[in-house]
Amino acid sequence: MRSPGGGTEHAWTVAILVAFALLALLPLLTARDDVLNFVFLVLLSITLAQSWNIVAGYAGQVNLGHAAFFGLGALTARTLWIAGTPVVIAMAAGAAVATGFALLIGAAAFRLRGAYFAIGTLALGEILRTTVGNALPEISTLPAASIAGYRLAPRYYLALALAALSVLAVAALARSRLGLGMQAVREDEDAAEATGVSALGLKLRALALSTALAGAAGGVFAYYHISYYPSHPFGPGWTFDALLMTFIGGVGTLQGPVLGAVLYVFLKEYLTVRWVDFHLLIFGALFVAIVLIFPGGLVQALVQAGNGARRRRARRPGATT
């Protein structure tokens, strides 16, 4: 079986990591907050999309409650960090809480298959959002001392490191037995079980990895934002963003969520200047078209364009291939 990314995962991993290395120089080159904020959003989105991609793209489970894990990570990290815990440890704790919750509900949630898993997780996410909104209705604002000492650069580097980690995790997963097992479950769960792998075990591991990254991303969000409602990171919009970015880029590929996140954040920020939420009209329609006509997203489009060009070259008189 050919991989949907056209067998170029390795080249893409290197290219993305080189791009990240160059982005590490950005805070040294510019002091413009708007530029750094924009790249920060792209990096956070890459992590969010890539983490969603692990469960949806590799293990084939559409998790519509992803925001719950992002939110749990944000809630835990924010609470610990404001109480004085070093931010990296607070983030790790956020990731641990998100993963712990995932493992707690995982076995029950994976009794549901396909679309039922999707609507079940959607309901789960809404339960958490409503409950957190009711239990913690007050806005969470940093203490005045931290606001005075607020600097963007450490937030930026944390987001960069996490985005690189998520890409490396997926790159390692895609080549491993574990990742292949997940893909077998995605293609046909019963057939995979028949070959002796535990579908539930593989799905749980995919969910654990995915929610750990989402929880850590929530931690970065909590570290970055000066004030927000605690229920905000639990909002379904985070799940929908991750889903759109992943599908537009190419679900189940390494580079798809990265390309999708860049395109999505860019268009969103550009369009929001004029019309609030207008990007959702475009992306909603684009998403429908992708599901119906072009299930491989941008990555598939690039691969086909590349193949087309190669075929045209081969057809030229005198060409040897």
């Binding site: 009794r111 396909g114 679309a115 609507i119 309901a123 939420d277 429908v288 599901v291 119906l292």
Partner: protein, 292 residues
């Protein structure tokens, strides 16, 4: 005690709309095996249709049903032809998953469109008789919501008759039961699909109209109503429209009781918890038969 009884009555009145909202979703899911998560957005559009008719032309919201329902029928036929007709070509499991994704994209687009057209503000139709109340002992029943409940019941009964007696209603039921057998007996199942989807959309439009008059609408109510409809469908199972209506009433009362027990904000949680428990306990048997 009176307060509790009052809450239960209000819960029943709202529950009737849950039942109507779920009936459309249930019909579409049962017949097409398509899970349209944009159903709540269709309800929202129906509400704005009635709102527009009222604000621009002064049409009474209950009379507006006579325009909103045919309009929603046409919209449903268009959505089936343009979108969901492509989804039903896939085998069943892919079909449900793809329909979920397509519905999701449609929901986002419709939500953004509604924000453009009508802004994100809450809207409600206030008629001259909006404040009228029927008093039964110590309990006050808002007349407009009572009328909405009766209209919802009438529509469900009408749908039931349509499916039971009408030639194409029988074709729709046959297709829902076994599309291959239906095909073999000469039923044009594509047409049955189209009709079922259009009817489902019409029910959503009617539900939206009733929501806009007794309650309020905004572009973001879609997800909430989709979830309510899903909860009711899970409770009721597929097949019986009257059963769906009763399950809607049950959800309305369950919400009222949990609001009384745990405080207002948690009323949203109870339905979702029931939903998850039923889903997990009956992962396959939920909608009739096991997905292969």
């Amino acid at each position: 005690m009176t307060l509790l009884a009052q809450q239960i009555v209000l819960g029943l009145l709202l529950g009737g709309l849950y039942g109507l909202a779920a009936a459309g979703l249930s019909l579409v899911f049962g017949v097409l095996k398509v899970l349209n998560v944009a159903h709540g957005e269709l309800i929202m559009l129906g509400g704005y249709g009635a709102y527009w008719l009222f604000a621009l032309l002064g049409v009474d919201p209950f009379a507006a049903l006579l325009l909103v329902i045919p309009g929603a029928l046409l919209l449903g036929a268009g959505l089936y032809t343009g979108l969901f007709g492509f989804v039903v070509r896939a085998p069943e499991e892919t079909r449900i998953k793809n329909s979920l994704l397509v519905g999701f994209g449609l929901a986002l687009a419709l939500h953004a469109l509604a924000v453009r057209l009508w802004t994100a503000d809450d809207r409600s139709i206030s008629t001259g008789y909006g404040g009228a109340v029927l008093t039964v002992g110590p309990i006050a029943i808002p007349l407009i919501r009572l009328a909405s409940l009766l209209v919802a019941l009438a529509l469900i009964a009408g749908l039931h008759l349509l499916l039971a007696r009408w030639r194409w209603g029988k074709a729709i039921r046959a297709t829902a039961e076994d599309w291959q057998a239906a095909l073999l007996t000469g039923i044009d199942i594509r047409r049955a699909y189209l009709l079922a989807f259009a009817l489902g959309t019409a029910l959503a439009g009617a539900a939206g109209t009733l929501v806009s008059v007794g309650y309020s609408i905004s572009p973001s109510i879609g997800l909430e109503w989709t979830l309510k409809a899903l909860i009711v469908v899970v409770l009721a199972g597929l097949g019986s429209m009257l059963g769906t209506f009763v399950a809607g009433l049950f959800l309305g009362v369950a919400e009222a009781l949990s609001a009384a027990a745990f405080g207002g904000p948690y009323r949203e949680v109870v339905g979702l918890v029931i939903f998850l428990v039923v889903l997990v306990l009956r992962p396959q048997g939920l909608f009739g038969r096991a997905p292969r």
